[in-house]
Symmetry: C2
Subunit: 166 residues, 2 copies
């Protein structure tokens, strides 16, 4: 199963693509950061959609995971983040991907093992889990962590299904 | 010039389409409300994009106007409104439309003549200006008011250009 994780933002949207095999082994496919800073706001929203659609066309993931955002610093940053996330969601949904949402707590627990991890810890653990030769950029690391979280949840769910519990 | 105005929302997105001729006469083309209430949030975001893309394909406007949102009740509603607005913007931008933003004050001044107008006043004035036989639904009326605002601004700009001021 090929999973894309997304860490949306109005300036930088991180993405990370991994593969999870039948034994639960994870393999890194690609990661990056769509940087739309320095352009007028409306152009940024259009660029997030187009750039992400291009990443999806290139790497053809089977499923998507995105952080569920509840809070923002204030209403203004929430409006900006919301529009960026909306553009990213349209790209995922129009590509026909099932989209799962995970809270920041779930994502940090799945990647670092603790809900209070900081950005540097997420970067280090993602690097270690995916055998990367250096720390990924912070937004891309968060996106990879989101994809890892989805791989764990999907695998747990498969086991329960296999055991006849659901 | 055929103008679509958009009043985005995470439950209801109003749209209104008008034509403005060389003399500044306005003609009503269509209006409506994309109601996505009662579905899971992610489905709503996808539906706003798809439903609006269909409206654009049917009515083929030349340009778009959307309310510039600065404020929201709280960060949670700002995040939801932001995602709805992001999905609507992607539909407009992907249709190749130039998008102009107007503040609520500009829109109310252009339609009602006063910045403090309430929803009912906007509905009545839009009905009168566009010779409709009944008040449009509130979100559709706001969208039509946004399109009227754009028609006025575009015409003022044309006059200034014709007079050699810009």
């Amino acid at each position: 199963m090929r999973i894309i994780g997304i860490d949306p933002g109005s300036l930088r949207t991180g993405y990370g693509i991994i593969e999870s095999d039948a034994r639960g082994e994870l393999r890194h496919v690609a990661h990056g950061c769509l940087n739309v800073a320095g352009r007028p706001f409306l152009e940024r929203i259009g660029a997030i959609y187009r750039d992400l659609a291009q990443v999806l066309a290139e790497h053809r993931p089977d499923t998507a995971a995105i952080e569920q955002v509840f809070m923002a610093r204030n209403a203004d940053s929430a409006l900006k983040l919301g529009q960026a996330r909306g553009a990213a969601l349209v790209a995922l949904l129009e590509a026909g991907l099932p989209v799962e949402e995970y809270t920041a707590l779930q994502i940090k627990k799945a990647s670092v093992g603790a809900g209070h991890a900081d950005k540097a810890q997420v970067q280090s653990m993602v690097r270690w889990l995916l055998h990367l030769d250096k720390n990924p950029q912070a937004d891309a690391a968060d996106a990879l962590a989101c994809a890892i979280c989805h791989a764990h949840h999907a695998r747990t769910q498969q086991r329960w299904q296999a055991a006849g519990h659901v």
